[in-house]
């Protein structure tokens, strides 16, 4: 059981820089979602299933979704602005 704790801590520690270092926002959403799942697994291994469930629903599902939707909106706005500039 102790071994599992160390493994998950290492994984979370390795995944956090991966989120920061992925520069493309779209790729970052995917790594963030994966990092959220790892965090949830960590909470579960450390015997906090309630927190793990919140983490899965918010960190791995809703947060990436809302970021993706906001990114789409921003990209479209930029496209429109560019086109208006050209006209």
């Amino acid at each position: 059981m102790r071994l599992l704790e160390y493994v998950i801590l290492l994984l979370v520690g390795a995944a956090a820089p991966a989120v920061v270092l992925s520069r493309d926002p779209k790729a970052q959403v995917v790594t963030l979602s994966f990092y959220g799942l790892l965090c949830a697994l960590m909470f579960f291994i450390f015997q906090a299933p309630d927190v793990a469930l919140s983490q899965i629903t918010i960190g791995a599902v809703m947060l990436p979704l809302l970021i993706l939707l906001a990114l789409t909106k921003m990209r479209r706005q930029n496209l429109r602005r560019e086109r208006e500039g050209k006209k």
Binding site: D50, I58, V61, M62, L66, Q77
Partner: protein
């Protein structure tokens, strides 16, 4: 600020942070060593006092229900804020046509369509289970609400856009959002009518382990589930409408 100065600045502050971090770590209690007397006391008496086997929710929805009420209204206010910022203005487009018109057919594979359709039922059942069993097992209204709110999105991903539109256009969504928030406050106020303090657990506690047990904890978990479901569906609806309107403006 040049890149060189910035790097030096970063290295200095990073070294400082690492030093403070290590200093802080040296005095940490060992793993599993819990030093809060309040936590131990609650774990000892919660099942006996509140007939709720999930002590976390006994704390969230009873012992510190007032804090959770505040959190619920933080969520409520943020959803209202998003709705207010993205409200349809109706000035730039011709007429006041602000119907969310999504594409009728999404370009998705059969594999995605079938697996998503198979998932919808399971998700709804799991979400309802989570909302209603908050007092017995890990989970509760918040987690279950988010699961329930993502079910319409899975319907959308399965390519059934018409059903998705019917779900997000339903007035029941707004009713769930507002009714959930109001319900929580109403449960709290009901206690005042019985001459006790705000949010006192006045509902009969029932048998420990039964679905209808733990009094107000189960009821609050259910209304929180309603509010979260409504709130997140409203958020998704608002964002999607924004994106679709942008797309329509683009194609014109």
């Amino acid at each position: 600020m040049s890149a060189r100065v910035r790097t030096i600045f970063f290295l200095c502050s990073a070294a400082g942070l690492v030093a403070i971090f290590i200093w802080g770590f040296l005095d940490l209690p060992p793993l599993g060593d819990y030093r809060g007397p309040y936590g131990n006391a609650v774990v000892q008496i919660a099942v006996y006092e509140r007939h709720a086997t999930d002590v976390v929710n006994a704390i969230n929805y009873d012992y510190r229900a007032f804090d959770t009420l505040g959190e619920e209204f933080i969520f409520f206010a943020s959803v209202l804020g998003v709705l207010l910022l993205f409200r349809p203005t109706g000035t730039d487009d011709k007429g006041d046509k602000h119907k969310t018109k999504l594409e009728d057919a999404l370009p998705i594979s059969d594999a995605l369509r079938v697996s998503m359709q198979a998932m919808v039922g399971t998700m709804i059942v799991f979400g309802v289970y989570m909302v209603t069993h908050g007092q017995l097992t890990p989970g509760g209204g918040f987690q279950g609400g988010v699961i329930l709110a993502s079910a319409p999105l899975v319907v959308y991903l399965s390519g059934d856009v018409k059903t998705f539109e019917a779900i997000i256009a339903s007035p029941l969504i707004k009713l769930a959002e507002c009714g959930g928030a109001a319900g929580y406050a109403a449960i709290g106020t009901a206690a005042l009518l019985f001459g006790t303090h705000f949010l006192t657990n006045i509902i009969p506690l029932g048998t420990t382990g039964d679905l209808f047990s733990s009094g107000a904890i189960a009821v609050i978990s259910a209304v929180v589930g309603l509010e979260i479901t409504g709130g997140f569906v409203l958020l998704m609806k608002t964002y999607l409408r924004e994106i679709v309107e942008e797309r329509l403006g683009e194609s014109e």
